[in-house]
Amino acid sequence: MDFGLTEEQQQIREMVHDLCLERVDPRAAEIDESGEFPWDIKELFAKHDILAIPFTPDYGGVSGRALTLLVAIEEISKFCVTSSLILSVQSLGSLPIWLAGTDDQKRKYLPPLARGEQLAAFALTESGSGSDAGGMRTRVIKRGDTYVMNGSKTFITGGSVADTIVVFARTDQDGDTPARDISAFIVEKAMPGFKVGKLEKKMGIRGSPTAQLFFEDVKIPSANRLGKEGEGFKLAMQVLDHSRPGIAAQALGIAEGAFELARRYAGERRQFGKPIMEFQGIQFMLADMATQIEAARVLTYAAGDALDRDQPAVTAGSSMAKLFASDTAMRVTTDAVQILGGYGYLRDFPAERMMRDAKITQIYEGTNEIQRLVIAREVLKEKA
């Protein structure tokens, strides 16, 4: 058993870390304040092949290993979660193509994403169907060689900046069969009838655009359907098995960033004539934060390792990593604000932003309540 990273993964970690320290860290507060998508960071990541990490070399990428991607997401998230989402969503939006696409579809769509010339998005959620994704209403009707799509999606990360969007829609017409008869389609932003609605104002990850998307008689060629008709829901669940460790890595990075900040601050801040680090109350908080982070780290990396080793049952492990790491990020960032005291509550320090950003990791890609249902189902099944 070996918990170490490969030399290549170690190098990627250092490269991403150094780049983010120099270029992303100084921008993080601004991005949060303005709430604007950081195109400069996207260009930076494209230039340094960071956006190519989710892709294998045969489709223009540099890795394609799950663990390598996790390490990169973790490093970026230590500095700026909004920026980490550029990479996360590049992976999330391309995973359906990677998992279910034909070679033609992969050749057409993946290389420009790997080069970072284009951006991807993943559109599952609707205003009426969040946790209950199978209850979606966006529909397609087949007309000859095209599908005509009507409906809308909400909460789509990067929806306003993406070129390639994988959209899930019903292919049944009565709409009474919740999870069945859902299919996945590659929609290009230039397709007539595709419109971006308002961008949401949010508590955190404020530079990551969360968009409403509208589809009015959008004509999608059959060649853009991913997998078979009716297999879209299964595909979406399979994508989430692969992407949830990425949210875990994001949460892990936030927690690590907040912990480092709190640890440094506790060593410098003096009260009652000595550094606050010397008070056992502070020491124990830091020890608990570090221990929770270590637990989140082993679960997250184990989920990545299971994907890389093609283990048969990854669902529970991915959900466990997501659940535990995101709850850890929430606790650790809250404690970090506490250790910084009044200063922690000010925008002058990144602690409060980290706490606002951490909250989303408990919500998206399946709320933590949904993760618990998924895990319980898997555990109850295992012990049958």
Binding site: M1, Q283, L299, D305, R372, L380, K383
Partner: protein
């Protein structure tokens, strides 16, 4: 990164799982109820070579790694944490110091008997006045010709009365704290060593703990482990890897509790359906499963680092802290899933709660683990 078990580790897992299911499981309740030391199980484990897991082949041990040892302790603790505790103290803090710090002569004299289970080992550090603050122990070792005379009292000593070997920490330079502590190998038959009555305790029934009195206990120079003044370092190193074993014991308790809770939740019907269909029960199961898995990975990571010769003090402390806190929560939650039946001693649920509590206390209380972790954090 490759988090798979080696074929050898898979094999030992199969072997100890089989041993635990076949031999330990049917005895677990009786051991708890009677409080009798399970000599039969210790003997059976010895026959399978499980008492010398960390002892090299050259001294008749199995020569396996710490990860294998953790697997062994977990699987036994799955059914009986007290039996696991006996075997853990023997194989880890009771034996490993000789493997790590013993002279060739000491290894030859002690290890084969320990590995074959002909002698059980105990580790005697704690004293009535020196628990968490072990460096201020009061037992003395004064020079006496070619040896030493040990005087003082130890308390809470696991395997006391059963052991053929006690690793005793005593001060050769009283008043100089950690620097004055020296480790000694004291035979169970030494006339100067007397064991008090077994303590009655909340749990871990069957595992014996007692006071050990050293009354002009003569120990030959050849049985001094390491140099004079090296004893505290030996004890701390023993506890570093000892904590991996305690962590594994907690994982076994947690997994056992989870498995029983899952089986019960599927069977028990209320309001016309199995309680497993209720969301609050599912939530408990999910949380128990996540914490158990995280605890196991942390235990294995500390073990793997130790086996690779890398620093692992922080990771072992984190694993011990996390796993034992998790075991406390999980055994309580699992009891709750059983409702009133969980409170009855007919089921193992209450026993696991009683047993889990000890894990938060020994080999460094969880508060002391936090002190250790915080110190490592300041250092890094």
């Amino acid at each position: 990164m490759d988090l798979s078990l080696s074929p050898e580790q898979q094999e030992i897992r199969k072997l100890v799982r089989d041993f635990a299911g076949r031999e330990v499981k049917p005895r677990a309740d009786a051991i708890d109820h009677s409080g009798e030391f399970p000599r039969d199980l210790v003997k059976k484990a010895a026959e399978l070579g499980l008492l010398g897991i960390l002892v090299p082949d050259a001294y008749q041990g199995a020569g396996l790694d710490h990860l294998s040892f953790a697997i062994f302790v977990e699987e036994v603790a799955h059914y009986s944490a007290s039996t696991a505790g006996i075997l853990d103290v023997h194989g880890s803090v009771g034996t490993e110091p000789i493997v790590l710090f013993g002279t060739e002569d000491q290894k030859r004299r002690w290890l084969p008997d320990l590995a074959r289970g002909e002698k059980l080992a105990a580790f005697a550090l704690t004293e009535p006045e020196a628990g968490s603050d072990a460096a201020h122990l009061k037992t003395t070792a004064s020079r006496n010709g070619h040896g030493y005379l040990l005087n003082g009292s130890k308390i809470f000593i696991t395997n006391a009365g059963e052991a053929g070997l006690y690793i005793v920490m005593a001060s050769t330079r009283p008043g100089s704290g950690a620097e004055g502590i020296t480790a000694f190998l004291v035979g169970g038959d030494n006339p100067g060593l007397k064991v008090g009555p077994k303590f009655k305790k909340m749990g871990l029934n069957g595992s014996a703990i007692a006071e050990v009195h050293l009354d002009n206990c003569a120990v030959d120079e050849a049985d001094r482990l390491g140099d004079e003044g090296q004893g505290f370092r030996i004890a701390m190193r023993a506890l570093d890897s000892g904590r991996i074993g305690i962590s594994a014991q907690a994982v076994g308790l947690a997994q056992g509790a989870l498995d029983d809770a899952v089986a019960y939740a599927k069977e028990r019907k209320q309001f016309g359906k199995p309680i497993a269909e209720l969301q609050t029960i599912q939530n408990k199961i999910a949380d128990m499963a996540v914490k158990t898995r995280a605890a196991r990975w942390m235990t294995w990571k500390a073990a793997a680092l130790c086996d690779a010769g890398r620093p692992f003090t922080k990771e072992a402390s984190m694993a011990k802290l996390f796993s034992t806190d998790a075991a406390m929560e999980i055994t309580l939650d699992a009891l709750q899933v059983f409702g009133g039946y969980g409170y009855l001693e007919e089921y193992p649920m209450a026993r696991r709660v009683r047993d889990a509590k000890a894990c938060q206390i020994y080999e460094g209380t969880n508060q002391v683990q936090r002190v250790v972790i915080a110190r490592e954090l300041v250092r890094s």
